[in-house]
């Protein structure tokens, strides 16, 4: 049992988990935490600076934007969009990518060839352009942002996992399982998947960070949720006009994205170090 929870001892994992848990709490309890309605405009209080600057007001702890909306409340509600996209997008990309990776790596031959070529073609599109094209085709909206992320980023999972699956599939215990009468499906789920799962979890965590950035880009260009729902990318876009007079309106959402992506990345890196079979096996030997 001690071994099973080894990953909890890593400082990176703890740091990542603290940040991510904080974000999840923000998103879940947004209506309770936010001091103001994020969409309510207070025309009398435009571009109020945050409390630590002269002229700050405790009614708007992080100040207001050019339409008099509370920045802190918008940030807190924005985390809902960011996390929804991160979780759904990464999960979807993982499911699609890892299924194809397991099929390609396990069966090999022409199946592997076909999947490999599709991945290569997919990867030759610049990801941002590809997602923009997809958004134009699919139309704006949260579901379509998630779909675009899945369709663009499944290749990351497929590529990395496939080589891992291939290595495991060549171990004798996989052949032994087949010879004991295991079906292909059972062999993959019982013998191969447990070996690739740590890598899967790690990639998933990194992908969540990527998804947050992609969502920010898409909402920056107005391709994500509608204007009535606060999103970090949108906040950045809105703040561009007042970049000199009220830099905090721009800096704060950027900081939010930075902290979120940093949290996911450091969690992923920590998990990689503690869960990756290759690393743990060399330590054991």
């Amino acid at each position: 049992m001690a071994q099973r929870f080894n990953w909890l001892r890593s400082g990176r994992v703890i740091t990542g988990l603290v940040i991510v848990t904080g974000l999840v709490l923000c998103a879940v309890f947004a209506p309770l935490l936010a001091p103001n309605d994020p969409t309510e405009q207070d025309i009398l209080a435009i571009l109020v600076p945050p409390v630590w600057l002269p002229g700050g007001d405790w009614a708007f702890p992080f100040g207001t934007d050019s339409l008099g909306r509370c920045v802190l409340s918008r940030l807190i509600f924005g985390s809902r969009i960011a996390l929804t996209v991160a979780v759904c997008g990464a999960l979807g990309a993982m499911v699609l990518g890892s299924i194809l990776a397991h099929i390609a790596g396990y069966f090999g031959g022409w199946v592997d060839w076909v999947i490999g070529r599709v991945v290569e073609i997919w990867l030759s599109f610049p990801p941002v352009i590809l997602s923009l094209i997809l958004m134009v085709g699919l139309g704006a909206g949260l579901q379509n942002v998630i779909l675009a992320i899945i369709l663009v980023d499944w290749t990351r999972f497929c590529r990395v996992l496939r080589s891992d699956v291939m290595v495991v599939a060549q171990r004798d215990y996989v052949a032994a399982a087949r010879l004991l009468g295991f079906s292909h499906w059972r062999t993959i789920t019982r013998e191969i998947l447990p070996a690739t799962l740590p890598l899967l979890i790690t990639l998933m965590s990194l992908e969540m960070g990527v998804a947050v950035v992609v969502e920010a880009i898409l909402s920056f260009v107005g391709m994500s949720v509608g204007a009535e729902i606060p999103a970090w990318g949108q906040m950045i876009a809105d703040a561009r006009a007042d970049i000199y007079s009220a830099p905090w309106v721009l800096v704060l959402p950027i900081l939010a994205i930075f902290v979120t992506v940093f949290g996911f990345n450091i969690l992923g890196d920590g998990l990689r170090r503690t869960l990756d079979t290759r690393l743990t096996q060399t330590e054991r030997a």
Binding site: L179, L180, F182, R186
Partner: protein, 609 residues
């Protein structure tokens, strides 16, 4: 003066809290031109001496006592620059894995040139010098060889290249760490002869590290038997092998089967050699826990090295009482049935090697029209060098490869390319035990789950209790303790893993086991236990086995009949005793001749390449 003088050398694993000795007070001298053999099971510390000289000790290990004098100079305290100038020049190494010792992305020529530059023989004309060295190790067309890459050569050829490199500097000392363990017996014979020949040319002293007492007795002048980091015995090779003073030497000798002589049982050394931690807690003789002669004195007082004859020392309170250790009687000849379990007719397998869109493809015939029968409760050995098609045969039989032609019948039923029902039936009747338990056991399953894995599919679902009972039976059948069920494979020793591997194959009581080199790579005491386990299991469960091995002595001990394979063909087959005592095919004869027998061969003058 001795070329190498090792005095009370102690190498320990030191940490903040403890000092654990891996080698304790090793003392020996090596004269120029002589060969000393270091023999012992894994963990005995036999590789430590070579690593100490090269200063390549594993992390945490350090020399904590004694001296290591090379031609009067202290190798341990020597300045690094001085050591670097000695290594590769005056002191050369031959590694265990020839393929991994050569850089795969550089040609033989590039690597040879680099080495020649290091030893100060580079510059213009290096090609001629390299070619001359390669010619000296009997490699044909040395100049063409210089342009080739390591993967284009066989293991034996790579080892020759490394020997040529090692001797290019005319070293005074050569350290060969299991140089033939990864090679076939016939290649081994040629390689050791070659080392002997080169040694004679240059007057080089050789430290030959091996686990094979017989091989050491054949080629060494003196042999040191190491046990748990301590010298058990040190003396002239012939004396030590013929008339060992230390019980461990005798046990080692009796634990391996012979290829000649009357059949006898294998001496079973109980348990395992104590690990570094356990050694520190031992009060008396380190071998006492496993020694058949041990009494109270042995358990409480550690014996020192005492001279038992001129030039022959032994660390035992009862030196020369070893006649008392006798091998058990030969295993009873099991009753064999007459039922045909497996029958192969014209079974062949070829691989496409060079496929072209136009101009067809070339084929490699890995298995050429094999005919054989395995009968009820019969153990059939398959011997041959690597590349002879042994493993292809196993993979074809088990269904991992589809044969190109021929028929294969299991219990009278055709089993090639048939429907799912027959496949399930075949998998129940025939199981394989894989060679490498490291790879054959899923590291994420517990032992209990591994051995009962076959019951997860096929047949009615068992209740938790029934499953528990089956696991318990399988573990006790294969001599594993019950608490193993809750462990992971990484927590087991090599021998235990191989038992789990066998237990899994036996789970659904197959009629036929295919075993691919399952006793290789194990220590002799573990190997002896495994072989006896297989014989006992046959008696209890009554299965047949096709036992693939390159070790002829093991096949002779275990198998009723033997198939000799060469280049994909079965060149000879018959009752084991008949084939081994009166081989008909020249290939069988050469295989048998290459097996070390522990007798020093008369000086070989010429060498047939």
């Amino acid at each position: 003066m001795a070329l190498l003088d090792v005095k009370q050398l102690t190498v320990s694993l030191t940490s903040k809290t403890s000092t654990l000795d891996a080698v304790s007070e090793l003392t020996f001298q090596l004269q120029p031109g002589k060969t000393v053999g270091l023999v012992g099971e894994s963990g005995a510390g036999k590789s430590m001496i070579g690593r100490t000289i090269a200063q390549l000790l594993p992390p945490g290990f350090a020399v904590t006592g004694g001296e290591l004098l090379f031609d009067g100079e202290d190798l341990v305290g020597m300045a690094p620059e001085r050591r670097r100038s000695l290594l590769g020049r005056d002191i050369a190494f031959i590694p265990q894995e020839p393929l991994s010792a050569l850089n795969p992305v550089l040609t033989i020529g590039q690597q040879f040139r680099e080495h020649l530059e290091h030893i100060g023989k580079g510059g213009a004309g290096w090609k001629d010098r390299a070619a001359a060295e390669l010619e000296a190790v009997h490699l044909h067309e040395p100049r063409a060889l210089l342009n080739r890459y390591p993967h284009q050569l066989s293991g034996g050829m790579c080892q020759r290249v490394l020997i040529a490199m090692a001797f290019a500097s005319r070293p005074r000392l050569l350290i060969a760490d299991e140089p033939t363990t990864a090679l076939d017996v016939s290649v081994q014979a040629r390689i050791v002869r070659l080392i002997g020949e080169m040694q004679k040319r240059d007057g080089t002293a050789v430290i030959f590290i091996t686990h094979d007492l017989r091989l050491a007795a054949e080629i060494c002048d003196d042999v040191i038997v190491l046990y748990a980091g301590r010298q058990a015995e040190y003396g002239p090779a012939e004396v030590l092998f013929r008339d060992p003073a230390h019980p461990y030497t005798r046990c080692l000798e009796l634990a391996v089967p012979d290829v000649t002589g009357d059949p006898r049982g294998l001496y079973l050394l109980p348990e395992r050699m104590p690990g570094l931690k356990a050694i520190a807690d031992l009060k008396g003789c380190r071998f006492a826990t496993r020694c058949p002669l041990a009494d109270d004195t042995c358990h409480t007082q550690e014996p020192g090295l005492a001279e038992v004859a001129p030039g022959h020392v032994s660390a035992c309170w009862k030196s020369f009482a070893t006649e008392g250790i006798t091998p058990p009687p030969a295993p009873a000849v099991a009753a064999r049935g007459s039922e045909k379990i497996l029958e192969a007719r014209g079974l062949s397998k070829s691989f496409v090697t060079n496929w072209r869109l136009f101009g067809g493809a070339s084929h490699f015939h890995a298995l050429k029209a094999a005919d054989f029968i395995v009968r009820d409760a019969e153990f059939v050995g398959v011997v041959g060098e690597s590349g002879s098609g042994k493993s292809t045969l196993a993979r074809t039989l088990i269904g991992l490869e589809t044969p190109t032609s021929g028929t294969l019948q299991l219990l009278g039923r055709d089993i090639i390319g048939t429907d799912g029902g027959t496949r399930d039936w075949r998998q129940k009747q025939m199981q394989i035990v894989f060679q490498d338990p490291q790879s054959a056991l899923n590291p994420r399953r517990k032992v209990g789950s591994i051995v009962a894995q076959a019951l997860e599919v096929g047949g009615p679902r068992l209740t938790a209790e029934a499953l528990e009972v089956r696991i318990r039976d399988l573990l006790s059948d294969t001599g594993l303790s019950q608490e193993m069920a809750a462990r992971y494979p990484s927590q087991l020793s090599g021998g235990q893993k191989q038992r789990v591997n066998i237990a899994r194959a036996l789970c659904r009581l197959p009629r036929l086991l295919i075993a691919d080199e399952i006793a290789s790579g194990l220590d002799v005491s573990v190997q002896a236990q495994l072989l006896n386990l297989l014989l006992r299991l046959r008696e209890e469960l009554g299965f047949s086995m096709l036992f693939i091995s390159h070790d002829l002595a093991v096949v002779r001990y275990l198998c009723d009949r033997v198939l000799v394979m060469s280049k994909g063909e079965i060149v000879e087959h018959g009752e084991t005793e008949v084939v081994f005592s009166d081989p008909q095919h020249p290939y069988t004869r050469s295989l048998l001749a290459a097996v070390p027998k522990g007798v020093r061969a008369p000086q070989v003058e010429e060498l047939s390449a």
